[in-house]
C-alpha cells in the first residue's frame, strides 16, 4: 500500500542499547521528519530532512542520529538508549510543491527503554 510506514510499531529495549526506528514513504516527498510525542509536551521535532543526504536538527536532537541515503527512507537511531527516550515516535513526510506544509504521518513507533 502507498503511504508512510514505520517499523517496529512497538519496541522494548534496555538502557545503553542501540535502537533503530525505520520509516519508509512511497510518495517521493522531499521532506521527512521525526517527531516524538510525550504527555505534556506534544509533538517535538527531533530531526528533519529536505532531500536525500540533507538532514538538519530539530528542537530535541540530542541522543539521536539520522541518515537519508534514499528519498524514501529516513531511519532514526538511538545510539545508546536512555529512559528519557521512552516515547512514541512519529515519522512524517511532506512535499513543498503542495504549498501547504501539510504533514503525512506514520502510525508511530512506541519505544520503551527499561
Amino acid at each position: 500500500d502507498a503511504g508512510i510506514t514505520q517499523s517496529p510499531r512497538y519496541k522494548i529495549t534496555e538502557t545503553g542499547r542501540q535502537v533503530t526506528l525505520m520509516c519508509h514513504q512511497t510518495w517521493s516527498h522531499s521532506y521527512m521528519f521525526w517527531y516524538r510525542q510525550d504527555l505534556g509536551h506534544g509533538l517535538r521535532l527531533i530531526y528533519y530532512s529536505a532531500a536525500a543526504d540533507i538532514t538538519d536538527k530539530g528542537e530535541v536532537p540530542d541522543g539521536y542520529v539520522v541518515s537519508r541515503s534514499k528519498t524514501e527512507n529516513f531511519p532514526l537511531t538511538l545510539e545508546s538508549a536512555t529512559r528519557s527516550q521512552t516515547s512514541v515516535y512519529f515519522c512524517a513526510s511532506s512535499e513543498w510543491r503542495l504549498g501547504t506544509g501539510e504533514l503525512f504521518f506514520g502510525e508511530g513507533s512506541r519505544l520503551t527503554v527499561l
Binding site: 506534544g42 517535538r44 529536505a50
Partner: protein, 112 residues
C-alpha cells in the same frame, strides 16, 4: 520564548452542539496555521490549513478562523457527532516548510 497554547483540559460537549477549540500563540509570525486530528494510537491526520492573510476557512462541518492580531485560531466543529471525539492539534508553519511546530492538543469528547 515561542509558545503555542491549547486548552489542555478535555472538552466535553453534547452531540449536535458546536465544539470550539482554541489555539493561542506568542512570539510567532506564522505563514500558515494547520489543524490536525489524532485518534488514540494513531498518527495525526491533517484537516485544514489557513494562511496568514485569510480570516476564515471552511470544510464541510469544520470552520477555522485566524486572527493574527490576537494571535489566535479558533477551530469549530458544527453539529458534532460522537465520531468527532479525538484530540485536535494546532500547528504553526513559520520560516519554511520544515518549521512546523505543534501545540499539545485538546481532547474533544462528544457525548451522545
Amino acid at each position: 520564548s515561542q509558545k503555542i497554547e491549547q486548552n489542555s483540559e478535555a472538552l466535553n460537549i453534547q452531540e449536535g452542539k458546536t465544539a470550539t477549540l482554541t489555539c493561542n500563540y506568542t512570539n510567532y509570525s506564522p505563514a500558515y496555521l494547520q489543524w490536525y486530528r489524532q485518534d488514540p494510537g494513531r498518527g495525526p491526520v491533517f484537516l485544514l490549513l489557513i494562511r496568514e492573510n485569510e480570516k476564515e476557512k471552511r470544510k464541510e462541518r469544520l470552520k477555522v478562523t485566524f486572527d493574527t492580531t490576537l494571535k489566535q485560531s479558533l477551530f469549530h466543529i458544527t453539529a458534532s457527532q460522537p465520531a468527532d471525539s479525538a484530540t485536535y492539534l494546532c500547528a504553526l508553519v513559520a520560516g519554511g516548510y520544515q518549521k512546523v511546530t505543534f501545540g499539545t492538543g485538546t481532547k474533544l469528547q462528544v457525548i451522545p
